[in-house]
Symmetry: C2
Subunit: 315 residues, 2 copies
């Protein structure tokens, strides 16, 4: 079976780890969000790609959900001693090495998709990880504070401001001119099932769907999503702040409507959201907390079962 | 008093630390060698500038003579895990931060001299440290091994091969078109004394003298050198391999002749080399081992005394 998943960071990565357990023989292609990529100290940082790579490759800081296990912070301390900004983004020494290798390859002319493949030679994540695009696409957030109305990089809003200043708008700079990375459209075309993990529906999955060609390629495919919202609140992260920014309620119902039919065919919600109903979308309710790998695998299995049901496949 | 010193790495830096003690009120300008600079992992590494900066700024690994005290190697280990070459150059985590800041500033368009000044804002070395040039100049070494006759970067010969393969020639790529960095010629013009510390006479001091305009600017100045060779052997490092490569004997006499009159006015040698004699050069013999800061200060004091004697200044 061929599976494509569109993934953001922590939630997506944990779901994918469960998916590998649930479908050990499947060929899994992960289309990763790069909208929250940021150039720091001249180095290209790809938080979501790295979270997927580290999580599936066994290098993740498990409790934190992002960054490397056993991390140290000598480089960050030194940069601070030099007075270099920004100091609010916590890059560890091991993580720095990834960004150094990536930046060196990008500067040598390799596209991000080839760089990601090279990094995965080491991590062997057990999936094919492709960035949504090789082009520069950056999520910016429009805020208004004592310095006036202005757009800041998503990471500045998310990490430095902890999404504490209301987002008035979320803008994807460069998206209109971006092309899907090589392999993205082919993987979708060949997929039996497309999964939308419980990633942020606005700045992760929503961003991937904004790359011209990707949403169109999904037409006619069996697409099953897992709600990142349980009982009116995000499972983790600050998806509510992102949904509010684009005028969408923080509910499993509203997110299903945001994805909408005909894109979405199946929608897995938590038991407390069993009443969700969207025309053209088959909804199932079940426990959705990814408390451990086993729980994540059960959720992934349920998503695949729902896809089979929609496709009329008998298990 | 205004002093200019042309400096390489470890030997130069230790001499300069002594010089600061010997002449606490002097205005000292250090013209640093950049011929052994190397771009590693896309980052600009300036070993000699950093050794001077760390040594005078109190951050040096004291026993090793280069690199940072209290260093860790997480980034290097990770780069090796990615299989990235070269793995023979030992950059520590703290050191990496310096190269990251430098590279970011260089890529933003600042010349190396401005970057070095910015880095020194943190280290406060107590001297004005200027790279010999803002242009790219690289020392390459011609060797012949089982892969044939070829030129390798100086660091590959020095660090990876430990100068174990005979150098057939030493070439300074880019030197002919290089210009002295801003401030270099002015500092020389205003100097009361110019010192040549016991740095490598070929790939450190010799390199600086190869930048067009610098040797000419020294004409008419009082130039005093400290021999890096004691009793036929380099005090440290592998200066003998460099001298042999350019057909010069490893002796205090031969190095004095290499610098030569009219460049050199005074030459400080070790007691065992008391017989050295070069026409036009005033030679003095004294203990030259920089066993500690105090010993280095005594040597620097002797160099300044010799300069005073040559200039006809009474102490």
């Amino acid at each position: 079976m061929r599976i494509v998943a569109l993934a953001g960071g922590i939630g997506g990565a944990r779901f994918l780890r469960g998916l590998k357990l649930a479908a050990p023989d499947a060929e899994i292609t992960v289309i990763g969000n790069t909208g929250d990529d940021i150039i720091l100290f001249g180095l290209q940082v790809c938080p979501d790609l790295d979270t997927v790579m580290y999580t599936l490759g066994g290098g993740i800081h498990e409790e934190q959900g992002w960054g490397r296990a056993g991390e140290t912070f000598a480089v960050k301390e030194e940069l601070a001693a030099y007075g270099v900004e920004p100091q609010w983004f916590g890059l560890g020494d091991r993580d720095f090495a990834t960004h150094i290798v990536r930046t060196q390859m990008l500067n040598a002319g390799y596209p991000l998709s080839a760089v990601t493949e090279a990094l995965c030679h080491r991590w062997r994540p057990g999936v094919r990880l492709i960035p949504m695009t090789d082009d520069r696409v950056e999520t910016h957030v429009v805020i208004e504070d004592d310095r006036g109305r202005r757009a800041v990089h998503f990471q500045e809003w998310w990490v430095r401001l902890r999404a504490g200043v209301p987002a008035q708008d979320i803008v994807l700079v460069g998206a209109d001119d971006a092309k899907p990375a090589p392999g993205v459209l082919d993987a979708i075309a060949e997929a039996d099932v497309v999964l939308l993990p419980p990633s942020n529906p606005v700045v992760s999955v929503g961003t991937i769907l904004r790359i011209p060609g990707i949403r169109e390629a999904l037409t006619g495919k069996t697409v099953v999503g897992v709600s990142p919202i349980i009982g009116g609140a995000p499972v983790r992260g600050m998806a509510d702040a992102c949904l509010t920014a684009i005028g969408v309620e923080t509910s499993a119902q509203a997110v299903a409507e945001l994805y909408g039919s005909p894109l979405l065919d199946g929608w897995l919600v938590a038991e407390e959201d069993a009443g969700v109903s969207v025309e053209g979308v088959v909804t199932r309710a079940r426990p959705l907390l990814m408390t451990d790998e086993r729980a994540a695998a059960d959720i992934a299995r349920a998503a695949l079962d729902l896809a089979d049901e929609i496709r009329g496949v008998t298990a």
